[in-house]
């Protein structure tokens, strides 16, 4: 049984079709990233998986359950990192984490989770006094304190500085190493590349590509650009077999200063994929 199984998911808002037939299959323990431009249907899809939104049609199973009817036991196995940044009351970080932890059957220790997300120094601070990035870290703490089997992360590192992002990636990797399934949406392609075992690109409510970061959109076989500084200036050649080309050139005695071989980046591939959908 997979952790997430989606067949033919559809959702319309009035006359606008947000999700038009998506299939997804995420095995246990995988880190799966969902990429796509704003309005593509990523958030709608994730909210349906989390049980926060009703779908129009399609078959959805998260940990074997239909999220639309998921009860207490199901909720205890799911972790959702929300983007709720503020808190109406005067609670401190520790109080907030302890409270949410108390709603779960086998939570982690609050102090431990607070340290893990890097809020150790702010444990006694009021939530309202936290910066935006710190609040996002609190959101992560609240999402994982219940020790869930699967964690949903919707654009989790928005507002993080580079150091905090690296710390966060380590956290995600540690979660994944212990067997937690992770579904992540992100705009940051380096993040998708760093974390995801597999990823999919959504545009205009449809899945346009699925694969590993290395093979997405035929990226691996897309050929490379070989560039060097020749006597007449910068030379470059697009080829499917860069090694053969370089061998041919050096065999012919051509000098290759400033030699670079570049494959299309994930960003290039991604932009090309969503570009086709426009």
């Amino acid at each position: 049984m997979t952790a997430i199984e989606v067949r033919g998911l559809r959702k319309t808002y009035g006359s606008r079709s947000a999700v038009s037939g998506i299939d997804l299959s995420v095995p246990h323990g995988e880190v799966f990233a969902l990429l796509g431009p704003n309005g593509a249907g990523k958030t709608t899809t994730v909210e349906i998986l989390e049980g926060h939104r009703r779908r129009d049609s399609g078959d959805v199973r998260v940990l074997g359950q239909d999220p639309a009817v998921g009860g207490r036991a199901w909720r205890a196995r799911i972790g959702i990192v929300l983007q709720s940044a503020t808190d109406a009351a005067d609670l401190t970080v520790v109080e907030t984490v302890r409270h949410i932890a108390s709603l779960y059957p086998r939570p982690r220790a609050a102090a431990e989770v607070i340290e893990l997300v890097g809020l150790g120094d702010q444990a006694k601070a009021k939530v309202q006094a936290l910066s935006g990035g710190q609040r996002r870290r609190l959101d992560v703490a609240l999402g994982i304190v219940g020790r869930p089997e699967i964690v949903f992360l919707d654009e989790p590192t928005t507002g993080f500085d580079p150091h905090a992002r690296r710390q966060f990636w380590q956290l995600v990797r540690a979660l994944a190493a212990e067997g937690t399934t992770i579904l992540l949406t992100t705009h940051y392609l380096d993040e998708a590349e760093a974390l995801a075992d597999r990823l999919a690109v959504i545009a205009a409510g449809v899945l346009v590509a699925e694969g590993t970061p290395a093979t997405l959109g035929g990226r691996a076989g897309a050929g490379a650009t070989v560039s060097w500084t020749g006597p007449a200036g910068q030379e470059s050649e697009l080829t499917a077999d860069p090694v053969a080309l370089i061998t041919k050139l050096t065999a012919a005695g051509v000098d290759l200063p400033g030699l670079t071989v570049t494959r299309p980046s994930l960003e290039d591939t991604y932009l090309a994929l969503i570009g086709e959908q426009r």
Binding site: L103, E149, G179
Partner: protein, 255 residues
């Protein structure tokens, strides 16, 4: 099956619902205690009404036992002020701040939240009613205690009804609108009568339809006269509670 549990080893289990509810009720009470000043201020109006209408000739009250008429009405008003108006406003803001959404993502469940909020508000209502009743006694109100249990019973029903209505309102409207609507309803109820002065002749129908009037009437019968609470009051409040809680359970939105 679970061996050495690492920091992140997924470890699902079952928590008794009791424990979850206890935790949530505790948190609701804690949050209320942190807003202590607001709670005390909320008692200001009922207190003024009690002293103003109860001790002076300012309003037209049926019968000659002024306090006997006014104090139960004030108690009923306090219950409404806390369990409806205060609850609606607080919940509306919790919803807009994302607090409810976070709870919705946890194993608390919708019925769990409704129960916790109602239970916590019940505790608060009990304290406030006791405090105001004490003030009433100090200024001369002499309640009959033979019907105290039915009095508590109707108050519990009224609290449940107001809570349900509050959560319903907070789910249907935006926070600012919720605040305005809840306050307006409060003022209208206060003005419609039956608390400070004799109600315009709404007749038994009016007393039946408005939970505040039904509650106030029931308390007058029980505490001032020592007679049993009329069936119509029981019926009215039970229906209100049933409808309100069902509506809230169906329509309640976490975000």
């Amino acid at each position: 099956m679970t061996t050495e549990s690492g920091t992140f080893t997924p470890a699902p289990g079952r928590a008794p619902m009791r424990a979850i509810l206890r935790q949530q009720v505790r948190m609701e009470l804690l949050l209320t205690a942190r807003r202590g000043e607001a709670v005390v201020l909320a008692m200001g109006v009922p207190l003024l009404v009690l002293l103003g209408a109860g001790l002076t000739e300012a309003t037209n009250v049926p019968g000659d036992d002024r306090l006997g008429f006014v104090v139960p009405g004030v108690l009923a008003l306090t219950v409404m002020s806390t369990a409806f108006t205060g609850q609606a406003i607080t919940t509306g803001y919790e919803r807009s701040y994302g607090v409810l959404k976070r709870l919705g993502a946890s194993p608390l469940t919708r019925p769990g939240l409704l129960f916790s909020k109602t239970a916590a508000i019940g505790c608060l209502v009990a304290l406030q009613v006791l405090a105001l009743a004490l003030v009433g006694v100090v200024v001369g109100w002499r309640p009959e205690l033979s019907q105290i249990l039915p009095a508590v019973g109707v108050t519990a029903l009224a609290t449940a009804a107001y809570c349900g209505l509050a959560l319903l309102l907070a789910s249907l409207l935006r926070p600012e609108t919720t605040t305005a609507a809840a306050t307006l309803i409060y003022v209208l109820m206060l003005a419609a009568g039956g608390i400070m002065f004799a109600a315009p002749d709404l007749g038994p129908a009016g007393s039946f339809l408005l939970p505040l009037a039904a509650h106030a009437d029931a308390l007058r019968h029980a505490l001032t006269e020592g007679s049993s609470v009329p069936v119509s009051s029981w019926l009215s409040l039970t229906l209100w509670a049933a409808v309100a809680l069902t509506g809230a359970a169906r329509k309640f939105r976490w975000e």
